[in-house]
Symmetry: C2
């Protein structure tokens, strides 16, 4: 009922946090995530909001949920999805246009990518 000014939806922020933890190895494949009620206490959210994040992550094949047991980190299948590919290219286009405006050269972007590919798994 509070509802403060919010940039990104809470459930998307949680999705992002979980994805990052999986990518960085904090969460391993097959590992069990906290239950929706448990995660709600940890993150200070409503169980419904956590459930929404879990459901969206399952739709993206990031996690697997088994009713009665829990939710688990799914193995990365590495499927080449044309829709995701074009979406990533579009997002990269936005980054480059903004970078140009801020006088950030291509080298900086290349450096970031190398760093990120090193950090992640």
């Amino acid at each position: 009922m509070p509802q403060i000014k919010r940039s990104q939806p809470l459930y998307e922020q949680l999705m992002w946090r979980i994805k990052t933890q999986i990518a960085s190895g904090v969460l391993e494949i097959g590992e069990k995530l906290p239950s929706v009620r448990e995660m709600a206490l940890i993150e200070g959210l409503n169980p419904n909001t956590v459930a929404k994040a879990y459901k969206a992550l399952e739709a993206q094949n990031v996690i697997e949920t088994v009713t009665g047991k829990g939710t688990f980190v799914r193995e990365n299948e590495g499927i080449v999805d044309d829709k995701l590919l074009s979406q990533l290219h579009l997002q990269m286009t936005e980054v480059v246009i903004e970078a140009k405006r801020a006088a950030i050269d291509a080298e900086q972007l290349h450096k970031w990518i190398e760093e990120l590919y090193g950090e992640i798994s």
Copy 2:
């Protein structure tokens, strides 16, 4: 009053379209943009929605508005803003994490950047 399923707000889509046109040289520095009412007819939007986009673009120093005259493309100042920098890095992190999941290697991302830096201005 219709309100169909929408992924991104219309005014943000318009902002993006204008930014792209500026970056690609379709709109040149100092050039006058269509008026809010004119652009509303062109894009099939409400003048208020166009005004919202114009106002947001001016807040980002992309365009300059003069009451009674019109809105014009502003010169790129190329300021290094720490907030924008970290925001771009965050956005790049998202791209890399998603790319890893889709089994897209770093070479593809490097290639995209080179292409985009070539296309733009």
